[in-house]
Amino acid sequence: MNRDNDKGKVLINRSLILGAVELFLLLCLIFRLYYLQVYQADKYKTLADENRISTRLLVPPRGVIYDRHGVMLATNRQNFQVMIVAEQTTNVQETLDALKKIMPITEAEEERVKKDLKKNRSFVPIKIKDNLSWEEVSKIQLNAPDLPGIIIDEGLSRYYPYGEKTAHVIGYVSSVSDTDVKDDPLLEVPGFKIGKAGIEKLYEKRLRGRGGNLKLEVNAIGRVMKEIERVDGIPGDRIDLSIDARLQTKAYELFGEESGAAIMLDVNSGEILAFVSVPAYDPNMLTQGLSTKEWNELNKNERKPLMNKAVAGQYSPGSTFKMVVALAALESGVITPQTRSFCAGRMFLGDHAFHCWKHIGHGYLDVVQALQHSCDIFFYETAQKLGINKIAEMARRFGLGQKIDIGLENEKEGLIPDTEWKWRRFGEPWQQGESLISGIGQGYILTTPIQLATMTARIANGGYEVVPTFTKKDKGSPLNFKKMPINSSYISLVKQGMYDVVNAPGGTALGSRFDFHGLKMAGKTGTTQVRRITMKERQTGIIKQEDLPWKYRNHALFVGYAPHDNPRYAVAVLVEHGRGGSAVAAPIGSKLLLEALKLDATSQPVE
């Protein structure tokens, strides 16, 4: 009985201890609650918002690109997409089948849609097709009751109204690739496109604008419950280019089936009014994305539509280089305006013969006549007396052999050789014969069409170091181009020669002359070989250009400006394998200059 009492007491004591322990443990929970809900509350509030708030970037509309008169060259077009939301239809296959009756859907597209549907949650819209026509959109809307789960989404896509005519100026936009620098969260947005070439690439940052923010409340599986906050982005800047869409179109069309490049500059401001490389690609197709087959076709085309020949094509300038040689010779005193030379059709250096293009010879010529007739012998002799270094120096002053840097990718430097270059490049001394052929713009010399256009503009404006640009300049804005220290009378002499090329009997571009209310053009043709004419061929008769395969034909060049007495426009035209400068390139240059003059005459100021 005593022990029984003890047993009861033990139970009471131990129960009290047990109760105290339980009470203590429960109170610990209260401390833990305090720790989480007061001490760490801010941390968890942040985490809770991160959980429930999904921030999405709003893509701003890309800046529109205009020509100098406000014509749209690149714009944003509404792009209608048809999408399917799995959870809004009872049977995805039935809906797709019904849609197929309205618009064509390829098997590959259907496969992709089904794959995307599996990958995503059922409330996520999956794109079936984009770039729908109005007709397709209205058909889908008419048949909406039979198309459960089908929605039409409106987006913006880039559109180039002038297509391939402006391709090598404007470039195109395309999806962000792995190699692009991701300096902006916008680039992570699916489907976002950035400039990949041309102005689109050059002014990418300005055109892109700034992304906005959309804060959405989402649940645990990502479904959007409501919109919390919307901060609109800033649209991209508009860009006004110096290009004149009418001249641009004209230049492109003048090429017809030929390929090459043409550039027209304002000789005083340096504004690029037309800039074409032919053939070109359709930027609208590149923006939508090409198939591998289409891409290969573009890539393998021997006329290289993807290459911007105006800046990336390097060609011997040929006779268009003769103005530079003439100026160098006059400036250094090797010849005077009165110096006359005799052309017998060929000359010898050692036992090596150098031929004039006119094998019976030109007889006695001064520098103006030499330019007019494009006599090779005159310039061989002049170059021989001058030496390559003086020629090179003058060439560089006119912008040859260096990047003009108008902001387009893949611009090439060209090549203006001198004795030092030869040593560096080949470890051999310069040969006199090399000076001779340099005198007619052949040999090592390489120039790009944009350099030739720059050269022509600098001659036309009387020796001002104008720099080409795509930026439209306001009327009356100051032009701070330096005048080169070249005697103006020498430049006038060269310009006289260029005038005679077009307008005097015997001039190489006589056939392309025009007289538009007294306004005429001046210019210089050039024809350069892309294959060597062997001695044997010279004896048996030179093969006619028409009989050669396209890629062995001569390049045709023309540089010129108008009006002759008060120049405003300069052009450089290169026709790849165009056979002859007089026959093919000069007419293009002439028509383009005439078009510019006509537009000037009819133009109402567009503001």
């Binding site: 339980e22 989480l36 968890y44």
Partner: protein
Amino acid sequence: MYKFYETSFKSQPPTMREKFQNISFSFVLLLCILAGIGVVMLYSAANGSWSPWALNQLMRFGLGFAVMMVLAFIDVRIFMRYAYLFYFVSLVLLIIVEVEGHIGMGAQRWINLGFMKLQPSELMKIALVLALARYFHSSSLQSIETTKGLITPALMVLFPAFLVMTQPDLGTALMLIFSAGAIFFAVGVQMWKFGVLLLGALILMPIAWNFLHEYQQNRVLTFLDPERDPLGAGYHIIQSKIALGSGGVFGKGFLKGTQSHLNFLPEKHTDFIFTMLSEEFGMIGAIFVVIINVLIIAYCFAFALRSTSYFGKLAAIGLATNFFLYVMINISMVLGLIPVVGIPLPLISYGGTVILSVMAGFGIILSVNVNRNVNIGKD
């Protein structure tokens, strides 16, 4: 209110009228408040709807309430008389479930009675307490203090605990062991024996680790480092802490818990309902619920101490500790203090079996209180 030191020396069982008067209505009120909070939270969990949980829960509580009242009127000696039988029946049911589980696929924890699913492990929670109470009621202090006298009750615990663990239901198995441990402690088993047991457990732990299922191992590892797998096993703990912590002092308001309603919080109507409550009603609401539970347990202990019979005392303490373990384990789990084990918060979490088992336990505790002056002989 009952009077703590009111004593009566009647050894006759109370009449029905006396029984009714002796039911502590303040205690019953506390239970109703707790269940009411549960119903309110379930209404919120369904985004402000009585279905599918709140109304169901209310009906189940009604049933549980009836069971409690019926048990409260039963003579406490009946519980003692049938304690072993009840234990035996529960054990057999556990074995049946175990065998069926092996025949069928995967874990099975219940027997389908048609109108409800009976979990034998829930029955065992009560049966074990009653059986141990009866065993220790009959044994002397000397035998309790010897190791030999503890072999039988230890086996009474370990056998069902093992069966439940293999179901596998680690949480319930641990609850059985802990509540039995509390009873062993209460009856006066020497402290050093607990020390030896603890030491043994520590040594055996690496071995036991290998017997755990992979998902159970994951739960423990995830508890130790929730960031280990933030979208998988760690998701529950992380999301629970986020929801709860973001509730702050006053909460986000009824029906306004973002994490719960946007489904970031998993199992918000069952195991993690306390988190949802803390998100919507803040620390104030959470502490209120803890205090209600503290009061319920305190009442149970008071009933135990007032009872004149050893069996009554021990049964009340065991059942109260059982309830305490539910509350403690569930809240510790959602607060990230212990690994996630599937233990609901009694009377608040959605689930019929737990309501019935807990209310039955309270019914027996009330019966102990009602029959506090009934003298029970030493068998």
